[in-house]
């Protein structure tokens, strides 16, 4: 028989269970298999009721984030072989309410994301006939890293501040705000400042830095937040020196 590896998976059914519990499954240990393949194997062959989110299988959609041996990971990019001989513990993303098995409730993040207005804000839109808003490669480069976010929420699972204070806007939302702040085509910085410079915004961050460590897209949310703290502090000093408005 081919080599097997054990997976310990969180099971939770809101209709049936009071608290989540762990269930063990054996799957073939294949060199090219990632944790997500193992989950799909279980769903197809062993227990069709196992619930989890996934889509692209290639680190793009951001929907397959789970805790693998306690670390937030994209399960489509986490190879079984790296954990052999196992067992591998697969749990739902930390810091989010669990809806069923490995599925977490993320509407809190979605609401926070829209609060920081992650889109280009123009004081006055220019008519389409005048063409695109142009940008140099250097200007693109200044925010490109922050624009790589796939909303996988691994950073929220790694963030103890978000775990302790659910009102905290959190790493990805703040990094995405900074992505638009740094965009040369954007004119919405002062609109975002009001949301971002609140206690639940950037100042909630105590710079643990784990969001940056776990981010599969090298977004560096911790860096984005600290950089924004610097900007906000400068704005604050400016508003003290020039209360009549130096914006």
């Amino acid at each position: 028989m081919a080599e097997q590896i054990a997976l310990e998976i969180t099971r939770y059914s809101p209709e049936r269970d009071k608290t989540p519990s762990m269930e063990e499954f054996e799957v073939p240990l294949r060199k090219e298999w990632v944790v997500l393949d193992a989950l799909n194997y279980i769903k197809d062959k062993v227990d069709g009721s196992l619930s989890f989110r996934w889509s692209c299988r290639m680190g793009v959609c951001g929907s397959c984030g789970m805790m693998v041996n306690g670390e937030p990971k994209l399960t489509c990019a986490t190879f079984l072989n790296d954990y052999a001989p196992g067992p591998i513990r697969v749990e739902p993303l930390k810091n989010f309410p669990v809806m069923r098995d490995l599925i977490v409730e993320i509407s809190d993040f979605l609401a926070k994301l829209s609060k920081v207005k992650p889109w280009l804000i123009r004081k006055k839109e220019k008519p389409i006939s005048e063409g695109e808003y142009l940008q140099t490669p250097e200007e693109l480069d200044s925010y490109r890293q922050f624009s790589m976010c796939i909303n996988c929420l691994l950073c929220y699972a790694a963030c103890p501040v978000y775990g302790l204070d659910p009102l905290f806007a959190g790493p990805a939302a703040l990094a995405l705000a900074q992505r638009y702040n740094m965009d040369s085509r954007d004119e919405g910085k002062s609109e975002r400042l009001d949301v971002l410079s609140q206690h639940d915004g950037i100042w909630g961050c105590t710079f643990v830095g784990e969001c940056t460590q776990v981010c599969p897209k090298h977004v560096d949310p911790a860096g984005a937040i600290q950089q924004y703290k610097l900007t906000a502090a400068q704005e604050w000093v400016k508003s003290l020196l020039m209360p009549w408005g130096g914006k």
């Binding site: 608290t19 309410p97 409730e105 509407s107 200044s142 860096g223 600290q226 950089q227 610097l230």
Partner: protein, 135 residues
């Protein structure tokens, strides 16, 4: 349709344990870094007391020296010194994250931002040591 509420009542919530910071090395390092500020404050207080004793004349200063010779104070100063080192090094190393300086369209490398902090640290420490030890 599920409606958004600030505290979603749906789903099973796991409470964060009080001891969450023991769960990961990086969390522990973070807590130690935060804790180190207490020791920084202790050094600041000690320096203020020292200046106060200095202003109080020779007898006040020898009292202060007596206080410094207490083994408990020596031990706490050694521990504080280690924490202050840890504090300085961790924050210096984090400084490039907060400062995204761009020159000629490129981001200035991290070492060039953290480096001057270390240089200033060494120079100022050497200056203070010279001031105190030359007599």
């Amino acid at each position: 349709m599920l409606r958004y509420t600030e505290y979603p009542p749906r789903g099973y919530r796991v409470r964060v344990s009080t001891y969450w910071w023991t769960g990961r090395r990086a969390y522990l390092r973070f807590i130690l870094r935060e804790l180190s500020s207490i020791f920084v404050a202790w050094f600041v207080l000690e320096t203020l007391f020292q200046i106060n004793a200095l202003a109080g004349g020779p007898s006040a200063y020898s009292d202060f020296e007596q206080f410094l010779r207490n083994p408990v104070v020596i031990a706490s100063n050694v521990i504080s010194f280690l924490f202050v080192l840890f504090h300085a090094v961790t924050w210096f190393n984090l400084s490039p994250k907060a400062m995204a300086v761009r020159l000629g369209g490129k981001r200035v490398p991290a070492a060039l931002i953290a480096g001057p902090n270390y240089v200033a640290w060494v120079l100022i420490s050497a200056g203070v040591a010279w001031l105190i030890l030359r007599g």
